[in-house]
Amino acid sequence: MITDGSGSGVGRRRLLAFIGATALVVSACGGSTASQSASAAVASATPATPASQAAVSPSAAPSDAGYTGPEATITYSIWGDPQEIKNQQAIVDAFHATTPKITVKVTVSDWEPYWDKLQTSIAGGDAPDVFAMDGPLFPDYQTRDVLLDLKPYIDRDGYDLGQLADQAVTDFTTPDGQFGLPRDLNVVALYYNKKMFDAAGIPYPDDTWDWAKLTEVAKKLTLKGADGKTKQWGFYTESTDMENYWSELVWQNGGDIISADHKTSLVASDQAAGGIQFLQDLIWKDKVMPDAAITDALGDAFEQGQAALESNGSWLVATHLAAGIDFGIAPLPKGPAGQATSINPTGAVIYKGTKNPDAAWAFVKYLASPAAQTKLMELKASLPANKAVLTGPFATSFDGAKVLADAIAYAHIKPSFKGFNDWTTALQTELDANVFTEPKKTAKQALTDILPKLDEILAAQ
């Protein structure tokens, strides 16, 4: 600590100033994120509540038809924008109509604060009863024993997991049990702007497209203005997350991201690097795609009507429709090793310390039910996870929906492992700085450079 040695007469004013400044140091440091929740969290570092024990051996046996427990109010937290809370509120209202004894309170946060709040509320023993879980981050929570195992409830009710998309279910399965049900899922496909294709007299993309065809057409659709600046880009995607395109390119080139045991990073192989190299080339060699500096400011060039093609997720359908883009959806172009895309489910999970596990389970079950999934489909928010809806009405619910539903057959699950954020931040920081934002290194070189750090992170988990 700071000490003011002088005890002299001048000292009084100085002392006051000193106290003020110390308070600043102290309060300012107190405000740093790490320490804020710390004291509260220490007290309950090991949440073990009676409810969670009761949950392991469900006593009452309500029928599959409905919830027979006492009246209950449960909380449900999701990430998303104001539109998302409207979507989920509509589903929650429908649930309340069928099960009046359970009231569900929905809270929504932006992506980043969602996880901050979730962690601190779990640490404080006051987590929401049900919350949304991103597939890749699931292991970080499940391995820390904060999620309720749904297996006993599934067995008790004879609930059929087979009614849900298989990859989406297994993303929340571990050797210890089933720790969530998929609420919705997302796949990545190729969006195309029909007007731009029509204007250039180029046929729309289809399932025969490969990388070479993509580059060829994207070049034709990249148009420069009189000032030499690009006014229409042939292609657009986000390079800042693997899901939007580069993990798909890795798979399409016969590479992979991480070993099955999650101990070894595979991104530096020739095949994996080749996939990422293709994306770097689209930006810097072929110049058919805006680089990150432009993207940061412009946002989604396809949504702005400034790009002819976009590789991105099914979550953008509603956004592109709202933007008034006349678009179609095609499968991603095939790579040297064939067709591949990415699938990523959002799960609904139950907090292990919930006081109302039965009510929470009834709600989670409802979220995955055909009734709720049909509502989800109508909102065009995501792909339904329930097969009855996915392979039924969904395929004809909008132009291109069938392409998305069919993509599940050749989709790889988005990598999901403990330490995901730590690992992807290290990897993506390297790629952003040296491969995508500036072509300082080839993909192979950058990936080789960062590999030891990546494996070190995996070893520390």
Binding site: M1, A17, V25, S39, Y141
Partner: protein, 303 residues
């Protein structure tokens, strides 16, 4: 015992007598708040920094391992370097600009109140809103700055993604944002300078520069000292500007210590590691503040 030292004789002497009692009463809420809301958590952080703790399961005591690991963590060292750079540039530059502005704004001209208000506006605006505007100013594609520079033939720059330009760009925004507070404090300091001192200097033949250098500035040193402390501590803790401007995530050129703490504590499940980093930051801030306080004998003049 000396018989003259009766309790009555001590009236007004002890720290809790007379005025002192009132002072203690007024200080109590603040001190209590500090003890409960700041000192407690800070000590808890010290304890946590000695553990491997993911926030969700029981912490494991690992001694000083976190501190040792931090000193070899490339990302942390870069964060430290960037934070120092930010502080060393933004504090002196911010204070100098604010001082110049305050002197200019101390003039008695029409509409001065409006101009003063304009300079204070960024202070009461949220960083998010400010950052959105600056994102547009800095935009590499069609940003205001590039358009203005383009008009005079300067090529477009990637203000926020070029590693050498990113941090200076963020500093420029921060200085602009924080200007209002410093200007207000300097203005108050300027207006507290007795006009007879300045008049006397004029009578003695001092020109405006000599009055500024020999009368105004020395009498303003307490204000400069105070704003200096605020800026110094604030700079070491820079976070929100980075959080909103460095998209999608800070690079090696823009990560700062507090962002590093946030990232490790809340994204990487390394609360012990984050706590150790915040203690290193705390010690750095404390040492620099101490040096700064020691220095005031040499340049701060209290009237």
């Amino acid at each position: 015992m000396n018989p003259r030292r009766r309790p009555a004789a001590r009236r007004g002497g002890g720290p809790l007598a007379g005025e002192g009692r009132w002072a203690a009463a007024f200080l109590a809420p603040t001190l209590l708040g500090l003890a409960v809301l700041s000192a407690g958590p800070i000590l808890a952080t010290l304890a946590i920094s000695l553990t491997k703790w993911d926030l969700l399961t029981a912490p494991k005591l690992i001694g000083l391992d976190n501190y040792a690991a931090l000193l070899t963590d490339d990302r942390f060292l870069k964060a430290l370097r960037n934070t120092f750079f930010y502080t060393v540039v933004s504090v002196p530059l911010g204070l100098t600009i604010a001082l110049g502005l305050a002197i200019a704004l101390n003039a008695k001209v029409r509409g001065i109140a409006f101009i003063r208000t304009a300079y204070f506006l960024p202070v009461v605006t949220s960083t998010i809103a400010i950052a959105l505007v600056w994102q547009w100013i800095y935009s590499a594609d069609s940003g205001l700055l590039n358009q203005v520079l383009g008009a005079v033939g300067v090529p477009s720059q990637k203000w926020l993604s070029d590693p050498t330009l990113a941090m200076p760009s963020i500093i420029a925004m921060s200085i602009w944002q924080g200007l209002g507070v410093n200007v207000i404090i300097f203005l108050a300091g300027l207006q507290a300078i007795p006009s007879d001192l300045l008049d006397a200097a004029s009578v003695d033949g001092a020109g405006s520069w000599a009055r500024l250098r020999n009368v105004t500035l020395p009498l303003l040193t307490p204000s400069i000292f105070f704003t200096g402390v605020l800026s110094l501590i604030g700079s070491f803790q820079v976070f929100d500007q980075i959080f909103v401007l460095a998209k999608p995530r800070p690079t090696e050129a823009t990560i700062t210590v507090v962002y590093f703490i946030y990232e490790n504590g809340f994204k990487f499940f390394k609360m012990g590691y984050a706590s150790a980093a915040s203690w290193i930051l705390f010690l750095i801030v404390a040492v620099f503040s101490a040096i700064y306080f020691r220095s005031q004998n040499r340049w701060v003049h209290y009237q």
